[in-house]
């Protein structure tokens, strides 16, 4: 790994998680306020996360297994906010509502 590769790899990894987190945040706020603009912003953040994952795979000197890990993480990020949201909604339903 060259000194420059060290820096841009680390920055890409950090931004990747930040984009994933922003997706989760905007998606949740959008669902909370039933605001499509927030949900769309969340999806845009996720698209940025995909681009960052792609950049990590194409331009960084990480070993192949780590790149696969990044791709899988990117896929899992897509699922976490909606799955968590659905689960929380189910959890918050009272037993009467569930019946």
């Amino acid at each position: 790994m060259t000194p420059y590769a060290l820096i841009y790899t680390a920055v890409l990894l950090g931004l990747f998680v930040l984009a994933g987190g922003s997706y989760g945040g905007f998606y949740s706020v959008g669902k909370l306020w039933t605001n499509a603009a927030f949900i769309r912003t969340g999806i845009a953040c996720y698209l940025v996360a995909i681009l960052l994952a792609l950049a990590i795979c194409l331009f960084t000197p990480l070993a192949a297994l780590w790149k696969i890990f990044i791709v899988l993480s990117c896929l899992i990020y897509a699922a976490i906010p909606p799955v968590t949201w659905r689960y929380l909604a189910k959890l918050h339903r009272t037993p009467e509502e569930s019946k």
Binding site: A10, G21, L62, Y77, P81, W85, L88
Partner: protein
């Protein structure tokens, strides 16, 4: 108020005082980077750093213990068993901290012998307290465990949160025994020492703050027990699942087997996933209760905890946890940046939220709000973000110039320390550190004065 809650208040006061000492020692430590000959041979950098880190550990630990003493009688509807012993040991704990501080200031270090180990400094990072004091901490923690377990037994009642708490107290206590050095091989010693540091911070403390936050959510937002307990189980499973073997991300440059580096990198890289779930949960819970709360400062500090934990531990951690990066970033200011943000997000914000919960009950007001807490919240978080930004710049410069280009030689270290990026980062850390300190002063002022003029009757719940 229960006697246990009065004891909790004493723990909170001690925790806030030590939080202040931590800040002063941190500012002093930051000054050494700008003026390396400061207090040379009078009070060297290493002592300021010991104070900064040890008080961090102790103020958080006291905050956690205070929180448990606060919520436990509420949870079980009875006084804590053996509270008289806990009251005595609180003063013993404080006296021990004071004596160790005096020794650290005036004696500082001794020869390489048993006397130094027992009475001056154990010589182990983060757990430097001399052995007599370390024994004392074990006694205090054992009493704390006895208080919790005996109260549950006497009450003949266990809740989900209490089960998690009681099970967590076992490793919390046992791991501290690892603070007593017995090994002379440096690699072996560091290998086990990390079990204490990592498993406490990324294992048992995570679970402990999870239990405390579960109580806090029920108190501040009125979240149902069924929900917080179910979520607590999931979070504990995910955090421990990713956190325990993340241990390997510390095993750089100390002679541990190479396979640990990949194991540590893999599991710690998974850590942002449950933290993302926590962010979604925080937003959901805030929304499910229509942002309604009767304690705004506590509410906002709980939210800050979820976001701070994700960015500090998740994003800043992921940036540097893969072995190819960690190899260079390890032990630089980059790590310090991550450590500051992660501790603040995961624990600092949570303990401050509990302080406000207790404050509301002590003041007897139904609705806690005001202006000062907003200033404290803003200054502390703005100062912290600025500090970690400065440290990040300094750390990246260090990894780049000193490690990657310079090859970690002594000359490269010196060149790295004089690099303008590094120096600028250190100035930024100092400046933002002062803002953080100002936030602390406002926080203390608010904790002392909040609710004094608020009406003490008429239940009132407002949306922020």
């Amino acid at each position: 108020m229960y006697r246990s809650q009065k004891l909790a208040v004493r723990y909170f006061v001690a925790a806030v005082a030590l939080f202040g000492v931590m800040i002063i020692a941190g500012l002093l430590s930051a000054l050494y980077y700008l003026h390396p000959s400061l207090l040379f041979d009078v009070f060297n950098f290493n002592m300021a750093k010991i104070f900064h880190i040890d008080t961090l550990v102790i103020w958080l630990l006291m905050g956690f213990m205070g929180a448990v003493y606060w919520f436990l009688p509420q949870e079980l509807g009875r006084e804590v068993e053996g509270i008289w012993l806990a009251e005595i040991l609180f003063y013993v704990f404080c006296a021990a901290v004071a004596v160790v501080s005096v020794v650290f200031i005036f004696v500082q270090y001794g020869g390489s012998n048993e006397f130094s180990l027992w009475f001056i400094n154990q010589g182990r990072k983060y757990v430097e307290a001399p052995r007599w004091a370390a024994v004392g901490i074990v006694v205090v923690v054992l009493t704390f465990v006895y208080n919790v377990v005996a109260t549950c037994i006497k009450a003949r009642r266990m809740t989900g949160i209490l089960w998690v708490l009681v099970l967590d107290l076992i490793p919390l206590t046992l791991l501290y025994l690892d603070a007593f050095p017995a090994l002379t091989n440096m690699s072996t010693d560091l290998y086990w020492w990390w079990w204490l540091v990592h498993m406490w911070v990324e294992g048992t403390w995570e679970v402990l703050i999870g239990c405390i936050m579960a109580w806090a959510l029920m108190d501040v937002m009125g979240t149902s027990r069924r929900i917080v307990e179910t979520w607590l189980y999931i979070e504990v499973m995910l955090v421990l699942g990713t956190g325990i073997l993340g241990l390997g991300h510390h095993y750089f440059w100390i002679g541990t087997p190479q396979y640990w580096l990949s194991i540590g990198g893999f599991f710690s890289a998974l850590e942002p996933l449950p933290l993302l779930g926590m962010v979604v949960h925080a937003i959901y819970d805030a929304g499910a209760h229509h942002m309604k709360t009767n304690n705004r400062p506590a509410f906002y500090w709980i939210l800050a905890e979820a976001f701070g934990n994700f960015i500090g531990a998740g994003m800043f951690g992921f940036m540097m946890t893969l072995p190819q990066i960690n190899l260079f970033s390890h032990g630089t200011q980059w790590t310090v940046s991550h450590g500051h943000f992660a501790f603040w997000g995961a624990y600092g914000c949570g303990v401050i939220a509990i302080l406000y919960i207790a404050k509301q009950k002590i003041s007897g007001v139904n609705f806690l709000d005001g202006r000062a807490w907003k200033w404290g919240f803003g200054l502390l978080n703005f100062g912290l973000i600025g500090m970690v930004g400065g440290l990040l710049i300094a750390g990246i410069a260090q990894a780049f110039y000193e490690r990657a280009i310079g090859g970690s030689t002594l000359m490269a270290f010196m060149a790295g320390q004089e690099n303008p990026w590094f120096v600028s980062g250190m100035y930024a850390r100092m400046g933002f550190g002062l803002i953080f300190a100002a936030g602390y002063v406002v926080l203390v002022y608010d904790l002392l004065s909040a609710g004094k003029h608020a009406p003490k009757s008429a239940v009132k719940t407002q949306a922020p």
